[in-house]
């Protein structure tokens, strides 16, 4: 797999960018322009300009209802916007069907896991492989697909071992726990050999003991040259693995920058504390809220040292 930029490069290159909304990235892979999606009177997504750096891990955060899942749906063809363009490696993705987007190498997972219950874990995995001869009707009737099937199975077992699901390979996916389903869905997405992986709350419901290894998997994707975009509520996780963080609230991008820039950002704190819904704050009140938030964040950071997987859901 060609690696366009070394992971360490990616991180350090991004570090020197200004912390502006819509800032140009040195090597963008997905570029969004004037994307608007509204449901009735509610504007779920309204993004002016957003670039995702190739080979980087970008964390997408924001309060519930911020439009993160809707943005994922739009980028992967599961939903159509009212207006706007978006492209992947310079190729416009507008009007493409979900399976066409996936075939180009942009593969997503779902916030509500979609394990295929009455297929075994191994069958779930094998379904993810692309360009399968045996998936064509006539070819399925001839034995020609068997060699490829063996390769696919070996690759699937390999990934299952990495995700510690190999013992479950022959079980129905419906028997897995919520966390195991998340793992399976991520492993299944990797069977597609994607260029960009979009993970919608991959850690939600995952046993804390597994979170750490899941994080390692995500970091490994970057080492393998993949671009990762993930939605996550746990700020520790976001700080731990993201090269860049994009914050959404009420459909808009309200901040972006390296992880350390985010906790200092007033708009972000406001969004999370719901200040923008209230009457304008006085300067003192504002300082009070900010101070509180900073204390909370500092407390988390202190915890970081010994309890890295302890969750702080919703910040």
């Amino acid at each position: 797999m060609p690696t366009n930029s070394m992971p360490t490069d990616t991180a350090s290159v991004l570090r020197h960018l200004p912390w502006n909304i819509g800032v140009r990235k040195p090597d963008p892979t997905i570029v969004v322009d004037d994307l608007v999606r509204s449901f009735g009177g509610l504007t779920a997504v309204a993004v002016e300009h957003l670039e995702f750096q190739r080979g980087a891990i970008t964390g997408l955060i924001g309060p519930n209802g911020a439009g993160k899942t809707t943005l994922f749906n739009l980028l992967t063809g599961f939903d159509q916007p009212n207006t706007g363009q978006w492209s992947f490696d310079g190729r416009s993705l507008g009007r493409l069907k979900p399976h066409q987007v996936a075939r180009l190498g942009v593969v997503r997972t779902f916030q509500l896991t979609k394990a295929l219950s009455r297929l075994t874990v191994l069958e779930n995995m094998k379904l993810g492989a692309q360009d399968q001869k045996g998936e064509k009707f006539l070819a399925a009737l001839l034995p020609g697909w068997r060699a490829q099937e063996r390769e696919i199975e070996a690759r699937a077992m390999d990934l299952l071992t990495r995700f510690k699901l190999d013992a479950k390979a022959q079980d129905f996916a419906g028997t897995l726990s919520g966390g195991q389903r998340k793992l399976l869905e991520m492993a299944r997405a990797l069977m597609c050999e994607p260029k960009v992986v979009m993970l919608d709350e991959p850690m939600a419901g995952v046993n804390p003991a597994l979170t750490q290894s899941l994080l390692e998997h995500v970091k490994n994707l970057r080492e393998e040259g993949m671009t990762v975009i993930f939605v996550e509520h746990d700020m520790d996780v976001v700080r731990d693995i993201s090269d860049w963080v994009v914050v959404m609230a009420a459909g808009r991008v309200i901040a972006e920058g390296p992880p350390e820039s985010i906790s200092q950002n007033k708009d972000v704190v406001d969004a999370y504390l719901g200040a923008h819904h209230d009457a304008p704050l006085t300067a003192e009140e504002e300082e009070l809220v900010l101070a509180e938030a900073e204390v909370a964040i500092a407390a988390e950071k202190a915890e970081d040292a010994d309890l890295p997987t302890e969750t702080t859901r919703g910040l």
Binding site: T76, P98, F110, G128, E135, A140, L141, T175
Partner: protein, 332 residues
Amino acid sequence: MSEFLDILALSVKSLVSQSAVFFALMGVGLNLHFGYTGLLNFGQIAFALLGGYGVAISVAMWGLPLLVGVLIGVVAAFVLALLLGLPTLRLRADYLAIVTIAAAEIMRLVFRSTPATPITGATRGLSGFGRDFYAVAPFETQRTYDFLGSTWTGREIWAVLVGWILVTLFSLLIWQLMRSPWGRVLKAIREDEDAVRSLGKNVYSYKMQSLVLGGVIASFGGMILVLATGSANPDQFQNANTFLAYAALILGGTARVLGPVVGSMILWFIIAFTDAGLAALIRNGIIPSEILSGPDVANIRFVLVGVGLMMLLIFRPQGIFGDRREIVLDAH
């Protein structure tokens, strides 16, 4: 005792009868639609109708060879599947259900309408198209044979034999497809379409392939039915048969290759057994004729079949061949 043996012999005959063949072929197609792909086709009988009339009209009205009639029946079923699938398979599952049920009713009404008389024979139907079919039988079709304890005409045996050969071939086809990656995509679509889309598969195309293949299999059922009975008549193609085929499928076990085949055999065994059994009980005065008389039997047997199916769903919801674990997972 000998009366009981007669009843049993009659029931055994119905185990492999033309009805069992017909519902097995309808069921094999439905199993592909519903059991494997999760498509709700409530008008399977429409495909059988096109198969049956494809043969009947081609041979009786247009004087074409039987094989051309078979081809026309298959093409008609293929086209119907496309017409039903194109507008509905992108939508939620219930749209296909509504459209198929309407199509089945409309087609039967059109085929039996007076203006259609020159083509379909309207309510009188068509006959006299089976000569080529029976001419190729490798044995004498004009005499009778004793077989499995009952008497069969040579024609019956030939029709049923060809029918079971078709059931076997289509079952083998389904078996091979369902162990291939193609079948894996279908089963995955049944579980969650969006997950399958996110993995780069064209769900719409697979659903269409499933609808077409299952419909074509049912069209062969219709062909066997009209050839075995010697006539094509609109009332053979009531849509109640679609639901009876569902009953057979669920009885045998959905998403199992042999589910619809064995389910159909057992269904017709039970129907024949209750039918002949009730008639004997009335004849011998065990059931007083004030409570139940001969003509009622035809109706009451379906009530009994219904009760039997309800018991099955309560005590063995997965059907005869099904996997209980899958039913449990279904509830998730």
